[in-house]
Symmetry: C2
Subunit: 376 residues, 2 copies
């Protein structure tokens, strides 16, 4: 392609921006009204580093929505259909969020920082307004704000060595989505075992934007022995792993059951969470679409970053939201949202692409790549 | 600069995308999760065309939030502090939106399409979730959706000739923000007198995305006699005119009084709109900051698309959200949000820029450029 991205005050820069430039960032997208690095020039090399080594990512675009006050826990429970059971500070969870009609509106990670203070680490939609609306309409005693917190991800099988080497052996015992608040060389951080890949990884939630350059250099130096390099949320790995990208894989009428997130919807819990009635109905009726993988028997670009409509025998069948050449499987694959009835029927679906019509055969997620992968 | 923008399903393409490519689009930003053309390669030439000729813009990123149903009017009145008085289908209005704490969360145009059907033509924040939250929490009988509507703007002093030539002499009598629904060569449209410039302009709200190419060509052909060319919301003209860019000129704690929008806040009306109590308090206490222009006596880039912090005597004073070289005034100007106390004090403020500290002297908006300008 080769179109330039415009800068301006409306789209904020990350606190790590200068460091990403210094390290050769080549492309950006916009995510939560911020510039998000998407390439350092060689996405396939970045893929191999992610699945076999270690990579560091500016993911400050994962903004935190902070809920603070006596009703913070109550609001957190209202905002997700997931049954949060006992909430333990220091143990995060993946918490899909739905509106009153059961539509998926974000799929963030909830971090209970303290008893009365929560962070929601959001995907790409303006959940600060949403959380404020629900809190205010219900008269809750909670302040909803965006704190000075910017995550830096360290991802890949060698990430554990880098992060444990920096902060101590306790990092090795962190369970999935567990986190700990620390100070390191004067830098206030939350160290969490998390990240948008299925490789073992960590996210360092920097709590003082003025120390971004210092943190970046510390991580880069510590990773040198493991050949760490800057990278980005990886387009190829996320397709192989079937990780959801909210807003790409979803449309305006997607429910969590369609996305394979039914296990995070508990309509039997006592909490009267937003969307309970609608989700109960959708659950009882059964989802009509599903998020699935596809094998695509055609020659395509290595990363065709486009949305393609799917059909079957002339009928609309859904859409493909991302395709790539899978280095792990050595063939073209994709992910998308498709009608159950059609996916369960006979024959391949047809994707309408700029490269002509190509056949797409449904396949289970995640794709069976041969290397180590942590399942969450 | 020169960074590439990444594509992908998460950031949608406009229905006019192919036409903008065919016409030489050079750069994009992202607005409401969509690609927004921001340059065809020569922004200064685009400026001159806008203030003296006619320009056509893909502004499909101005998404419409449709409120439909018996409570549509009630919801519209709840969503803005503006007193809507008598609502007449066909007459749009600029309607700042605030949250319960009186913070500005969008500054859209409201179009009453029919008695029970409204469009909110939004700036860059996810107001569909907000509108749905308020509607559902209050149990209103209204459906909130995003219809297949994509505005194409025709802006500049010669826009009236192009649009009246195409659709008829009635266009000349359209008052500001008035609109009419028509069909032209089989294309369903709403023709409105509006647009994000202070030149006389129109927006054609295309109601069938599949006819985008056809509409583009019709407008381009009709504009040929007036030397129409593709352009974009113009960075320079909007600074001279003091037009607000939500998200650029505002921060997370900006109220409408600060932005000079106090005339659109009616706390005495009967409607119990969202934010009424908070806005009454802010009104009574008086705004502490104001949106203002600046004269900048320094050599800067023609368009320095960055946010700069302002100080005065070592104290934080606010920020500048956009600066440019004004062809109309032949000097550097900017806009920003600054503490009243400091703006009313003595001496220039100081902006911290990558080009060193530069003096910034408050100036009234809009800037006194010498040419014709329509005041709304």
């Amino acid at each position: 392609m080769g179109y330039e991205i415009s800068f301006g005050a409306r789209v904020r820069k990350s606190v790590f921006f200068d460091k990403t430039v210094e390290n050769g960032v080549a492309a950006f997208s916009v995510y939560n009204h911020m510039l998000m690095p998407t390439s350092y020039g060689d996405p396939v090399a970045e893929y191999w580093r992610l699945v076999s080594g270690v990579s560091m990512w500016d993911v400050a675009v994962e903004r935190q929505i902070q809920l603070q006050g006596p009703d913070a826990e109550h609001l957190a429970r209202l905002l997700t259909p997931r049954n949060l059971g006992e909430i333990v500070p220091g143990q995060g969870r993946y918490v899909p969020m739905c509106d009153h009609d059961g539509r998926l509106i974000n799929d963030p990670v909830l971090l209970p920082v303290e008893k009365d203070r929560y962070w929601i680490s959001i995907a790409d939609s303006d959940m600060i307004y949403w959380a404020r609306a629900i809190a205010a309409e219900r008269g809750l005693a909670v302040t909803v704000s965006e704190p000075d917190v910017s995550p830096l991800a360290v991802q890949g099988p060698k990430a554990i060595e880098v992060v444990a080497g920096l902060f101590g052996a306790w990092v090795r015992d962190l369970g999935y989505f567990a986190f700990r608040e620390i100070e390191h060389e004067g830098i206030p951080l939350v160290v969490a075992r998390s990240g948008w890949s299925k490789q073992r990884g960590y996210e360092l939630y920097l709590m003082d934007g003025s120390k971004a350059g210092q943190l970046w250099d510390i991580v880069k130096d510590a990773g040198e022995a493991y050949e760490i390099k800057p990278g980005c949320p990886n387009y190829i790995e996320r397709i192989e792993s079937g990780l959801i990208s909210y807003g790409a894989d979803t449309d305006d009428d997607t429910n969590p059951f369609e996305m394979g997130l039914g296990k995070f919807v508990d309509c039997e819990q006592e909490v009267d969470f937003v969307g309970k009635e609608a989700l109960t109905k959708i659950r009882d009726e059964g989802a009509k679409r599903r998020f699935t993988g596809f094998f695509i028997d055609a020659e395509l670009p290595v990363m065709a970053q486009e949305k393609w409509m799917l059909s079957h025998g002339g009928d609309t069948a859904g859409f493909i939201s991302a395709t790539c050449y899978s280095p792990g499987l050595e063939r073209f694959i994709g992910i998308g949202l498709v009608s159950n009835k059609i996916a369960d029927g006979e024959g391949a679906l047809v994707a309408a692409t700029p490269y002509g019509e190509v056949p797409a055969t449904p396949a289970s997620l995640p794709f069976p790549v041969p290397w180590q992968r942590f399942r969450h």
